[in-house]
């Protein structure tokens, strides 16, 4: 089963699609209600989101702070530009690692798909290098998760 696609378009765009077995209203709410976002938008296993601000209206602020529970973490800030429930949001966001990354403009749409929802997230980065850096940073964090899973599976521990 492959529900998600992640592709690049042109020099600067990244497009993610995912199907959900719930109506657009519910999927939309899970993307904009802080108490719901905190339950799923966590990245690798073991990470939490102690701070979650999403004001849910045009001009509203976004701030997500992630923690690995061991003193490590990073945060994201952003602003909502359009909020059209339950169809579409447009926002800009940047990661603070701790230096801010260039703005990523994200258009997210939620379309009815049978009894479920097709979500499409279209990210536009300022230039090709920024897109490469963003995907590379995904690699860094994704690697951490894969590595942790591997460690659990095999009982293998890295030499310090």
């Amino acid at each position: 089963m492959s529900k998600m696609t992640l592709t690049t378009e042109g020099e600067t765009q990244v497009i993610v699609t995912r199907r959900f077995a719930a109506p657009p209203e519910a999927v939309f709410r899970a993307h904009i209600d802080p108490t719901l976002i905190q339950q799923w938008c966590l990245g690798p296993d073991g990470w939490t989101m102690p701070v979650c601000v999403n004001e849910g209206k045009p001009g509203g602020k976004i701030r997500y702070e992630w923690s690995d529970g061991k003193g490590g973490g990073f945060f994201l800030t952003g602003e909502l530009l359009e909020v059209d429930p339950p169809h579409r949001t447009v926002h800009v966001e940047r990661m603070h690692l701790p230096d801010p990354t260039p703005d990523n403009r994200v258009i997210t749409t939620f379309a009815a798909d049978g009894a479920g929802t097709l979500m499409t997230m279209r990210m536009s980065l300022p230039d090709a290098d920024t897109r490469k850096a963003m995907l590379a940073s995904g690699m860094e964090h994704g690697m951490e998760a894969s590595y942790a899973r591997l460690e659990r599976l095999s009982g293998w521990k890295a030499a310090a």
Binding site: K3, M4, L6, T7, T8, V16, R18, F20, A21, A22, A26, V27, A30, L36, Q39, W40, C41, L42, G43, P44, D45, D129, K132, A133, L135, A136, S137, G138, M139, E140, H141, G142, M143, E144, A145, S146, Y147, L150, W156, A158, A159
Partner: protein, 117 residues
């Protein structure tokens, strides 16, 4: 046996957060050891040691350019855009699996409520 050894070396190389950061930096393009050392609060010899571990694991390659030895990701190891996409896909997919569960829980709650007279 040999394949297992090489895999062990790859994972040992990836186990260190500084080395993962070095790889992420090289994913953006070639860099010298000096350039790699810049964002870290550790000495250049320490960075050189990390670079050697990565190089021995076959994750990066170095070329000679005068006195400089610029590093880049080994193409067969990790440099392909598709590889990054694969990693990002996995990270996102674990988020969306959690969202699936959350949505299923909400639907169940609603149905239970709906059944009440």
């Amino acid at each position: 046996m040999q394949a297992t050894q090489s895999l062990d070396r790859t994972f040992a190389a990836l186990a260190d957060p500084t080395r993962r950061k070095i790889l992420a930096r090289l994913a953006r393009g070639e860099a010298t050891v000096n350039e790699l050392a810049e964002p870290f609060a550790i000495s250049q010899p320490a960075i050189s040691r990390h670079v050697r571990v990565l190089s021995e694991a076959g994750l990066i390659v170095q070329r000679v350019e005068g006195t400089k030895r610029p590093c880049r990701l080994a193409p067969e190891a990790l440099s392909e855009l598709e590889q990054y996409l694969q990693m990002l896909r996995r990270a996102l997919e674990s988020n969306y699996r959690r969202l699936d569960q959350l949505l299923a829980k909400q639907t169940k709650k609603k149905e239970t409520k709906g059944d009440d007279p």
